[in-house]
């Protein structure tokens, strides 16, 4: 593939919720996306079960990314919450939800990130929690900044929070990114647009939610996460 292939391809609703793994505009896919077709596993041979994460996995303040240091991080404090559901709309409880993100200036606390924006000594940018009986998760954090990356000339990622979710079964594993409504960078970002169905892409975008804001303190965004179906891998005990 040549470097002049388009950064963003036109919409294609036939993809549904599937991301296009070899999306050419995202250059790093070229040597990393598998070239051969996937081999379909019959359902009876799917992996069964999945890791169960207990209380010991999560510390009490892991959900609050603003309380991990002496002082408070700079930036706009926000509350991000939502539910983890299966594709039948049933809540998934005790799902482990892990997040990581850039700081308000768009810099990750990672040695490889050399974006010339300041690190914030009061922000590490990582959190985790487990969903409650209704599938609810909740984080307190600061709104991450957009940042430049080397994919193409003047490439910028829209602001996002990375999410990693374990459902009931190993087959429900999801790693994704949550975006913020109305970001002007959406139409230039090959990672966001690698989800080619516009309806599916909208599922990556959180909603501003006045109801879950905390007056005089923080704005709030809601974002639900729908995992694929657990198949024969469902752990009966977790299937409430």
């Amino acid at each position: 593939m040549s470097d002049d292939s388009p950064i963003v391809l036109p919409d294609d609703p036939s993809f549904g919720s599937d991301v296009q793994v070899d999306y050419p505009g995202y250059r790093s896919t070229r040597l990393r996306a598998p070239k051969r077709p996937l081999v379909t596993l019959p359902e009876e041979l799917h992996p069964v079960g999945g890791p169960v994460f207990g209380d010991e996995t999560v510390f009490e303040l892991d959900y609050d990314l603003t309380k991990q240091h002496e002082g408070e991080p700079l930036g706009e404090r926000i509350i991000v919450s939502g539910r983890v559901l299966d594709d039948n709309g049933k809540p998934i409880r005790n799902a482990l939800v892990e997040v990581w993100q850039a700081n308000a200036g768009g810099r990750y606390k990672h040695e490889v990130d050399q974006h010339p924006a300041p690190l914030d000594p009061n922000f590490s940018g990582a959190g985790r929690c487990r969903t409650d009986d209704d599938g609810n998760y909740r984080f307190i954090t600061i709104k991450p900044g957009a940042y430049p990356w080397g994919n193409h000339e003047n490439a910028w990622r829209p602001a996002h929070i990375h999410f990693s979710v374990f459902g009931r079964a190993f087959t429900q594993r999801l790693v994704t990114q949550m975006y913020f409504p109305g970001d002007p960078l959406f139409r230039f970002d090959p990672i966001f647009n690698s989800v080619r169905d516009p309806k599916a892409r909208a599922l990556l975008v959180s909603e501003f939610d006045l109801a879950t804001t905390k007056p005089e303190w923080a704005l709030a965004y809601r974002w639900n996460i729908v995992l694929g179906h657990a198949g024969s891998g469902t752990t009966p005990l977790e299937d409430t």
Binding site: L31, K35, L41, K109, L174, N224, V226
Partner: protein, 162 residues
């Protein structure tokens, strides 16, 4: 009700700050009598190491899970105990590969080199062409089990869809 699934996005280059904060690559303690060390390299289509990948391993029969980031050489490692096999199947680990440049994690299987008969009878392994079978069976190396994962190329790892 049939809700649309939330799409996948890449784990990106900085996943370690969120996902590798603790040591989670020991499915069993290293002093477990059945402990086996699994090592391998994650390689791209040019055969170059992928230094920002993450491998997750699931032993369904023992309900044991672990994950390992890759280092600059693309190396990952686990301590496992060889899983019990379900009837008619060979012992195996289910493996997920995550990396920058990979928009969705990929599923593969690690089979063990000291199980030639069970491997020959395994319904998934035996349904594949011979060259692909060889790619999914780890190799014995210095008291460990070596399992390289190639994202592309002639010896590309076999990836499965569910």
């Amino acid at each position: 009700m049939n809700l649309a699934r939330t799409p996948s996005q890449t784990v990106g280059p900085y996943y370690a700050i969120g996902l590798c904060r603790r040591v989670e690559n020991e499915l069993v303690p290293p002093n477990d009598p059945g402990a086996v060390r699994v090592t391998g390299q994650l390689l791209d289509g040019d055969g170059q190491p992928i230094g920002d990948g993450m491998i997750e391993a699931w032993d369904a029969s023992g309900s044991r899970w672990g994950r390992s980031g890759t280092d600059a050489e693309g190396r990952f490692s686990f301590v496992v105990s060889k899983p019990a096999a379900r009837s008619g199947e060979a012992p195996r680990l289910d493996i997920y590969v995550h990396a920058r440049g990979l928009l969705k994690h990929q599923l593969t299987r690690l089979y063990f080199p000291d199980e030639p008969e069970a491997n020959a009878a395994d319904p998934v392994l035996s349904s594949l062409p011979e060259a692909d079978r060889a790619v999914l069976v780890a190799e014995q190396e210095d008291g460990a089990v070596r399992f390289d994962i190639r994202m592309q190329g002639e010896r590309q790892t076999v990836f499965f869809s569910l």
